[in-house]
Subunit: 121 residues, 2 copies
Protein backbone atom coordinates (compact mmCIF):
# COMPACT_ATOMS: atom_id res chain seq x y z
CA UNK A 1 0.00 0.00 0.00
CA UNK A 2 1.33 3.40 -0.95
CA UNK A 3 1.27 6.41 1.32
CA UNK A 4 -1.20 8.20 -0.95
CA UNK A 5 -3.66 5.34 -0.72
CA UNK A 6 -3.33 5.17 3.03
CA UNK A 7 -3.94 8.89 3.36
CA UNK A 8 -7.02 8.59 1.17
CA UNK A 9 -8.35 5.71 3.26
CA UNK A 10 -7.69 7.51 6.53
CA UNK A 11 -9.27 10.71 5.26
CA UNK A 12 -12.29 8.73 4.16
CA UNK A 13 -12.68 7.32 7.66
CA UNK A 14 -11.98 10.64 9.36
CA UNK A 15 -15.55 11.82 9.52
CA UNK A 16 -18.23 11.02 12.01
CA UNK A 17 -20.82 9.84 9.52
CA UNK A 18 -18.42 7.96 7.30
CA UNK A 19 -16.84 6.16 10.21
CA UNK A 20 -20.30 5.18 11.40
CA UNK A 21 -21.17 3.95 7.91
CA UNK A 22 -17.98 1.97 7.67
CA UNK A 23 -18.36 0.31 11.03
CA UNK A 24 -21.94 -0.48 10.19
CA UNK A 25 -20.74 -2.20 7.03
CA UNK A 26 -17.93 -4.01 8.84
CA UNK A 27 -20.49 -5.37 11.24
CA UNK A 28 -22.95 -6.16 8.46
CA UNK A 29 -20.47 -8.54 6.84
CA UNK A 30 -19.99 -9.48 3.20
CA UNK A 31 -23.71 -9.12 2.47
CA UNK A 32 -23.50 -5.38 2.93
CA UNK A 33 -26.34 -2.90 3.16
CA UNK A 34 -28.18 -0.76 0.65
CA UNK A 35 -27.87 3.01 0.65
CA UNK A 36 -31.38 3.65 1.87
CA UNK A 37 -30.98 1.48 4.92
CA UNK A 38 -27.81 3.29 5.90
CA UNK A 39 -29.38 6.70 5.35
CA UNK A 40 -32.35 5.78 7.49
CA UNK A 41 -30.29 4.37 10.33
CA UNK A 42 -27.96 7.34 10.40
CA UNK A 43 -30.65 9.93 9.72
CA UNK A 44 -28.60 11.54 6.98
CA UNK A 45 -30.16 13.09 3.86
CA UNK A 46 -29.74 10.84 0.79
CA UNK A 47 -27.58 13.29 -1.10
CA UNK A 48 -25.28 13.73 1.85
CA UNK A 49 -24.98 10.00 2.29
CA UNK A 50 -24.07 9.54 -1.34
CA UNK A 51 -21.30 12.07 -0.89
CA UNK A 52 -19.88 10.08 1.99
CA UNK A 53 -20.33 6.70 0.38
CA UNK A 54 -18.40 7.94 -2.60
CA UNK A 55 -15.52 9.01 -0.41
CA UNK A 56 -15.37 5.54 1.09
CA UNK A 57 -15.72 3.91 -2.31
CA UNK A 58 -13.05 6.02 -3.99
CA UNK A 59 -10.73 5.24 -1.11
CA UNK A 60 -11.28 1.56 -1.80
CA UNK A 61 -12.75 0.84 1.60
CA UNK A 62 -16.17 -0.26 0.42
CA UNK A 63 -17.50 -2.03 -2.64
CA UNK A 64 -20.58 -1.05 -4.62
CA UNK A 65 -22.97 -3.42 -6.32
CA UNK A 66 -26.37 -2.95 -7.83
CA UNK A 67 -29.27 -5.18 -6.83
CA UNK A 68 -32.14 -4.16 -9.08
CA UNK A 69 -33.14 -0.72 -7.82
CA UNK A 70 -30.90 -0.79 -4.81
CA UNK A 71 -27.19 -0.17 -4.50
CA UNK A 72 -25.50 -2.48 -2.04
CA UNK A 73 -22.40 -1.28 -0.22
CA UNK A 74 -20.09 -3.63 1.65
CA UNK A 75 -16.85 -3.25 3.55
CA UNK A 76 -13.70 -4.28 1.70
CA UNK A 77 -11.87 -6.25 4.36
CA UNK A 78 -8.73 -6.53 2.29
CA UNK A 79 -8.20 -2.80 2.16
CA UNK A 80 -8.94 -2.52 5.87
CA UNK A 81 -6.24 -5.06 6.61
CA UNK A 82 -3.88 -3.32 4.27
CA UNK A 83 -4.41 -0.06 6.08
CA UNK A 84 -3.86 -1.59 9.50
CA UNK A 85 -0.73 -3.26 8.22
CA UNK A 86 0.55 -0.01 6.80
CA UNK A 87 0.11 1.77 10.12
CA UNK A 88 1.94 -0.86 12.10
CA UNK A 89 4.64 -1.61 9.56
CA UNK A 90 8.18 -1.83 10.89
CA UNK A 91 6.91 -1.24 14.40
CA UNK A 92 9.89 -0.51 16.67
CA UNK A 93 12.35 -0.97 13.84
CA UNK A 94 12.75 -3.58 11.17
CA UNK A 95 14.87 -6.18 12.90
CA UNK A 96 13.77 -5.67 16.46
CA UNK A 97 10.03 -6.16 16.33
CA UNK A 98 10.28 -8.60 19.21
CA UNK A 99 11.53 -5.80 21.45
CA UNK A 100 8.05 -4.31 21.75
CA UNK A 101 5.86 -6.99 20.28
CA UNK A 102 3.31 -6.43 23.00
CA UNK A 103 3.01 -2.78 22.06
CA UNK A 104 2.71 -3.47 18.34
CA UNK A 105 -0.85 -4.49 17.58
CA UNK A 106 -1.79 -6.99 20.24
CA UNK A 107 -5.36 -6.75 19.00
CA UNK A 108 -5.38 -10.24 17.58
CA UNK A 109 -3.87 -11.53 20.79
CA UNK A 110 -6.64 -10.01 22.81
CA UNK A 111 -9.28 -11.31 20.47
CA UNK A 112 -7.85 -14.80 20.63
CA UNK A 113 -7.14 -15.33 24.30
CA UNK A 114 -9.65 -13.37 26.30
CA UNK A 115 -12.49 -11.03 25.59
CA UNK A 116 -12.17 -7.29 25.31
CA UNK A 117 -10.88 -7.03 28.85
CA UNK A 118 -8.05 -4.57 28.27
CA UNK A 119 -9.24 -1.47 26.51
CA UNK A 120 -5.89 -0.10 25.46
CA UNK A 121 -6.90 3.40 24.46
Amino acid sequence: MKATEAVAALAALAHENRLAVYRMLVEAGPGGLNAGTIATRLKVPPSSLTFHLQQLHRAGLVTQQRNSRQLIYAADYGSMNGLVGYLTENCCGVGQAQACAIACVPVAEIKKSGRKSSKAA
Copy 2:
Protein backbone atom coordinates in the same frame (compact mmCIF):
# COMPACT_ATOMS: atom_id res chain seq x y z
CA MET B 1 -12.74 4.33 22.49
CA LYS B 2 -15.47 6.73 21.53
CA ALA B 3 -16.37 7.62 17.98
CA THR B 4 -15.22 11.19 18.46
CA GLU B 5 -11.78 10.06 19.56
CA ALA B 6 -11.49 7.67 16.65
CA VAL B 7 -12.43 10.40 14.19
CA ALA B 8 -9.84 12.70 15.74
CA ALA B 9 -7.16 10.03 15.47
CA LEU B 10 -8.06 9.20 11.88
CA ALA B 11 -8.15 12.86 10.89
CA ALA B 12 -4.76 13.32 12.49
CA LEU B 13 -3.35 10.50 10.39
CA ALA B 14 -5.13 11.60 7.23
CA HIS B 15 -2.39 13.84 5.94
CA GLU B 16 0.69 12.97 3.97
CA ASN B 17 3.18 14.63 6.31
CA ARG B 18 1.50 13.55 9.50
CA LEU B 19 1.23 9.95 8.38
CA ALA B 20 4.91 10.03 7.48
CA VAL B 21 5.73 11.47 10.90
CA TYR B 22 3.66 8.88 12.65
CA ARG B 23 5.15 5.95 10.79
CA MET B 24 8.59 7.34 11.43
CA LEU B 25 7.81 7.41 15.14
CA VAL B 26 6.28 3.94 15.08
CA GLU B 27 9.47 2.67 13.52
CA ALA B 28 11.64 4.70 15.89
CA GLY B 29 10.20 2.87 18.88
CA PRO B 30 9.65 4.07 22.45
CA GLY B 31 12.75 6.28 22.32
CA GLY B 32 11.06 8.61 19.89
CA LEU B 33 12.59 11.43 17.89
CA ASN B 34 13.02 15.14 18.49
CA ALA B 35 11.15 17.68 16.40
CA GLY B 36 14.20 18.92 14.56
CA THR B 37 15.17 15.49 13.33
CA ILE B 38 11.70 14.91 11.98
CA ALA B 39 11.59 18.29 10.30
CA THR B 40 14.95 17.68 8.64
CA ARG B 41 14.07 14.21 7.41
CA LEU B 42 10.74 15.30 6.01
CA LYS B 43 11.98 18.66 4.72
CA VAL B 44 9.08 20.49 6.32
CA PRO B 45 9.40 24.02 7.78
CA PRO B 46 9.54 23.97 11.60
CA SER B 47 6.33 25.90 12.06
CA SER B 48 4.49 23.56 9.73
CA LEU B 49 5.85 20.54 11.53
CA THR B 50 4.72 21.90 14.87
CA PHE B 51 1.23 22.28 13.48
CA HIS B 52 1.20 18.64 12.44
CA LEU B 53 2.80 17.34 15.60
CA GLN B 54 0.14 19.10 17.59
CA GLN B 55 -2.58 17.43 15.62
CA LEU B 56 -1.06 14.04 16.37
CA HIS B 57 -0.54 14.95 20.01
CA ARG B 58 -4.04 16.29 20.55
CA ALA B 59 -5.41 13.14 18.98
CA GLY B 60 -3.46 11.13 21.54
CA LEU B 61 -1.38 9.31 18.96
CA VAL B 62 1.98 10.62 20.07
CA THR B 63 3.51 11.64 23.36
CA GLN B 64 5.60 14.72 23.99
CA GLN B 65 8.52 14.96 26.40
CA ARG B 66 11.19 17.57 26.87
CA ASN B 67 14.85 16.62 26.91
CA SER B 68 16.70 19.82 27.74
CA ARG B 69 16.31 21.96 24.64
CA GLN B 70 14.73 19.28 22.54
CA LEU B 71 11.18 18.03 22.47
CA ILE B 72 10.97 14.29 22.01
CA TYR B 73 7.92 12.85 20.29
CA ALA B 74 7.10 9.16 20.41
CA ALA B 75 4.27 7.00 19.10
CA ASP B 76 1.62 6.00 21.63
CA TYR B 77 1.15 2.35 20.83
CA GLY B 78 -1.83 2.00 23.10
CA SER B 79 -3.88 4.51 21.18
CA MET B 80 -2.84 2.93 17.91
CA ASN B 81 -4.09 -0.43 19.09
CA GLY B 82 -7.27 1.17 20.34
CA LEU B 83 -7.91 2.69 16.96
CA VAL B 84 -7.30 -0.56 15.11
CA GLY B 85 -9.58 -2.33 17.53
CA TYR B 86 -12.28 0.24 17.03
CA LEU B 87 -12.18 -0.18 13.28
CA THR B 88 -12.46 -3.92 13.37
CA GLU B 89 -14.93 -4.15 16.24
CA ASN B 90 -17.82 -6.54 15.73
CA CYS B 91 -16.44 -7.57 12.40
CA CYS B 92 -19.10 -9.57 10.54
CA GLY B 93 -21.52 -9.30 13.42
CA VAL B 94 -21.18 -9.85 17.13
CA GLY B 95 -21.79 -13.57 17.45
CA GLN B 96 -20.49 -14.75 14.11
CA ALA B 97 -16.95 -13.45 13.99
CA GLN B 98 -15.74 -16.91 13.06
CA ALA B 99 -17.70 -16.72 9.82
CA CYS B 100 -15.17 -14.37 8.26
CA ALA B 101 -12.28 -14.53 10.69
CA ILE B 102 -9.83 -14.64 7.83
CA ALA B 103 -11.18 -11.37 6.48
CA CYS B 104 -11.13 -9.66 9.88
CA VAL B 105 -7.60 -8.47 10.59
CA PRO B 106 -5.33 -11.35 9.73
CA VAL B 107 -2.41 -8.98 10.11
CA ALA B 108 -1.11 -10.64 13.24
CA GLU B 109 -1.43 -14.01 11.54
CA ILE B 110 0.74 -12.88 8.70
CA LYS B 111 3.28 -11.37 11.02
CA LYS B 112 3.47 -14.55 13.05
CA SER B 113 3.63 -17.31 10.48
CA GLY B 114 5.41 -16.02 7.43
CA ARG B 115 6.84 -12.72 6.33
CA LYS B 116 4.89 -10.08 4.46
CA SER B 117 4.17 -12.49 1.63
CA SER B 118 0.51 -11.66 1.10
CA LYS B 119 -0.06 -7.97 0.62
CA ALA B 120 -3.77 -7.84 1.22
CA ALA B 121 -4.55 -4.42 -0.21
